[in-house]
Amino acid sequence: MYKIFIALAAFILSVIIGIRYSNTFKQRVETLRSMMDSLNRLSMRMDYTMAPILELVEYSKNENTEIFFDKFTEKVKTLNEIGLAWKEAMEYAQSSDSGFSSLKDEELNAFNEYAVNLGNNDYENQIKNINILKLKLNSILDEANDIYKKKGQLSRKMGILCGIAFALLLL
């Protein structure tokens, strides 16, 4: 009876680890999708209203990107420099327990490069800048999706298999 409980616990633990590991791939995809969604909203709103960046950000954020955009707004007001504020907000979001922690250096660099010219030139260049980032994100998103499909499923299956193996060994 005692052995069965331990074997069951080992199985559950292994499955959880597998799912959690798989979720990091999922989180990356979801965060990238959310950022893409925010950027789409931002560019549409910019196109239609030509409102200042902080106002656009308010309308562009969603559940997953809120943590980053709120920090960005706060930082702009204190730092008075938009590129630096973006970078620090990104670092904050990455260090917090949010989907941003699953982003890789490649994505972070793309976001930070985008912020260098954010707000400080004309509308045409702002839209070009967003489009460049969207293109980069699109290819990153495709790749992240593929990885999630392969590695995500694999880690879940591995979790289950390892769980069964541990359980059998303990029994």
Partner: protein, 325 residues
Amino acid sequence: MKNNQVEQWERDILPLFPEKVRNILLNAANKQALEEIRLRANQPIQLCYSGYDSLVYAHDDVNVLSVKDCMDIINRMAEYSVYAWEDELKKGFITIRGGYRVGLCGKAVLENSSVQRITDFTSINIRIARERVGCANDVMKKLYKLNGELCSTLIISPPGCGKTTMLRDIARGISYGIWGEGQKVCIIDERMELTGCVRGVPQFDVGPRTDVLSGCSKPEGVQIAIRTLSPRVIITDELGSYEDVKAIMDAAFSGVTAIASAHASNINSIMRRRPLMQLVHGGIFNNIVQLGRHNGSVGIVKEIYSGDLKPIAESGKEILCIKFS
């Protein structure tokens, strides 16, 4: 003792400046009479009052402002979103929260011989916007017909004599119905100075029956107003071109009362400006009010003329409308 308007502009404008400039302005004398703050890269700060100015140097003998400081100030004014003020920047100004118009100077970028934008800003001229509630009271009594109908009026003066302040008070008064029945007013505010509109929101009280079309050219604005807003009175600032004149004529011939301003030092100057001459000869305006300065006060009604350019009886006495105490 600070008055409310000084507190207001200190609150609105000072956070936009670097600390050095902020300290200079906090210690400036006679702040209630300050009309313009002029900042230039590598130059002292120029503070312009009514009729005189003063140059303020930094205590440590270092330039008060660098070129980078100028750019930082403009970035803060534009809320870090230069693209949002693209059209205004092309025309060399932006209007910031509180309704202050900021004139800018720098390097013009040309395309097909026309200015596309101004970059590398080196001069910033902040005009302290003033709200003088009731400054048009005395003059407005003379601008109504005996049957209570409002006359179309042109206000003329050299720059900085209170035309815009007076127009704003006229709009507010007509809209509230201070001098007669309250009427629907439409303000065509091309350069956002009259209402100080920031993102479409007037920063001054222009009355409850007033619609504001900001950032819109006068000809287009007048057409939109007539077709969709059915105003009784159209108010606009700084007439100058033939297109502006045609727009005002369209409004007048549509049965709308037009109240406008134009840069002209006196009635003879109007006659030397062809578009304005056309307007006067067209009999559009029933009255022409000439404003001026006297003893450091602005907004003094020097003379009121009828539409046929004859001084109206009893208008010879100067009326002090705007006084900085």
